[in-house]
Symmetry: C2
Subunit: 319 residues, 2 copies
């Protein structure tokens, strides 16, 4: 993964360059706060590699890749307010460190900045038409993220949710942005419609594998590695694929608000025994394999190899 | 104003066409809620007239005009959460009717939709480069709005604010979007750089006049006409130009949280007597005249006439 790491460091400096701390300082500090707290930068790296894979120049799409990372961070910032989550990436969430108004506003600023950067970056000359398509795609994926978050929140209040409803939700909440990243890379890299469509499908399936595995990690990764409370999904009543499987086998969820770490451990043991965690892992693997197959049409290259490795990483990572 | 009214009705139907109530229904209902509650549609009308005035086709920029109205509404929706305002346009604000999470999310959806519409509308062919510029301009004005809202909120916590700080704040919070509307109209209407720049300046100055007069209306318009509590700025400690003038003459503000309507009336009487309201009205008139002068370079037309009339309306309206 050192190749991925190298690229994510380039993205980190580009974020600092494109969104420096300006006046009013506190607003920008809050806007940069989650971005500076880390993150794997998977989405921007996928965008860069996708540009490469169609024969484009990954460095030329660097601003666009910052733009998708900003969208991702904006959505986390607002989701954390809505879900009232206290920690993320090992630090306090913005609305608990400052307050809800500043966290809303900082999220809005990050969101706005994302579109400004994308429009500014490559919007000159003959490429303008492709940039407009990318902006439309990114805006549309933001709408999908909103719909996915709405579904996720309302599922928490429902007794039962079907697996197909769950897939619909994660395709919006997670898949749309992964797909958009790969497709924007393909578009700005000068790929054909066929290339762009293959990359899009790669992204959707990768997003599914990613989200399913994310749901598993919430249960299996220690809090200090995860950067947020382990098992919080069980208490919040999130309808993850693990929860849906276990509930269909008769397990009663969610756990009460005052459940202790030990209560959580007991239920997680149960989830292992019932095969629910295994079931989710298998699903993640299936979608991961499907994601890889979408790249069959591209000729072999280091970048293609990395896009394939990212899929494996997605379902084997520790956090 | 019947010409303005006619155009605002066209915009209303275009909003319904471009943002229909889809699934998930509650999210879309919340997203459309403030838009459907009314509003003067001044910003989109200015965009359409600006396209006309440079010789373009106002109907062709209809989607772009919806896009700026959505940005305006998104910012009101989030501002109302931050300021914890209870009513707007005579109806309960979204976060009091539903809850904060849904109001944040609905605002985000409106914001996303705005960029999707602008990118989708005119992004084909030779115009794409102009569309990219418009998107960059709109995204930048969103950042300015965030900065302006931040300044407005922090001014409320400060004892004293200078008039020049106040102008900096309203240029961001209000002026940037008015300027962007006029400039986008000019750009998409095919205007020259000189045209676009004149329209931009018209918008900035109109925005100043608008915001100053808005601050006056908060004090002088009955609650039932205003659609929100009269004098709320005095209680929230907003540093309006009226408050800044009165405080420099020794008036003590803000009013306590539990101030009655009568307490508010007494202070408003005082503001009249001190000349603070008159001072604000004169400032609004000065900026209004300057705004009009920016249109001197355009040849006479019905649309230019309407852009001039909008300036007069801005500083004589009842709400």
């Amino acid at each position: 993964m050192s190749e991925i790491k190298k690229r994510s460091e380039i993205i980190d400096s580009e974020i600092k360059r494109l969104m420096p701390i300006e006046e009013p300082k506190q607003l920008y500090e809050a806007a940069r706060y989650l971005l500076d707290a880390g993150g794997k930068r998977l989405r921007p790296v996928i965008l860069m590699l996708s540009a490469d894979v169609v024969g484009g120049d990954s460095m030329a799409v660097l601003p666009a890749s910052v733009s998708v990372e900003l969208v991702h961070n904006f959505s986390l910032m607002h989701d954390d307010i809505m879900d009232n989550d206290k920690t993320r990436r090992g630090v306090r969430t913005a609305h608990t460190k400052w307050d809800v108004p500043l966290a809303i506003l900082a999220g809005d600023a990050v969101f706005s900045k994302s579109f400004e950067i994308l429009a500014h970056s490559n919007g000159k000359g003959p490429d303008a038409e492709r940039v407009v398509r990318c902006i439309e795609m990114l805006a549309n994926s933001c709408i999908e993220i909103c719909k996915g978050q709405y579904m996720d929140m309302s599922f928490s209040k429902l007794g039962e949710v079907s697996e197909s409803e769950y897939f619909k939700m994660i395709d919006k909440k997670t898949g749309a942005l992964f797909a958009t990243c790969a497709a924007i890379g393909g578009l700005l890299g000068g790929g054909s419609e066929e290339d762009v469509s293959a990359l899009w499908n790669y992204g959707v399936l990768l997003g599914r594998a990613f989200q399913i595995y994310d749901d598993v990690l919430d249960l299996t990764t220690p809090t200090e590695v995860l950067g947020k409370d382990r098992g919080s999904d069980l208490i919040e009543g999130k309808k993850t694929i693990v929860a849906i499987h276990a509930m269909s086998k008769g397990l009663s969820l969610p756990l009460p608000r005052d459940a202790t770490e030990k209560d959580v451990d007991v239920v997680i043991d149960e989830l292992h025994k019932m095969g629910s965690i295994n079931y989710a892992n298998n699903k993640a693997r299936t979608f991961a394999d499907e994601a890889k197959s979408k790249l069959d049409g591209f000729s072999d290259s280091d970048s293609k190899d990395l896009l394939l490795k990212i899929v494996d990483y997605t379902i084997t990572r520790k956090y």
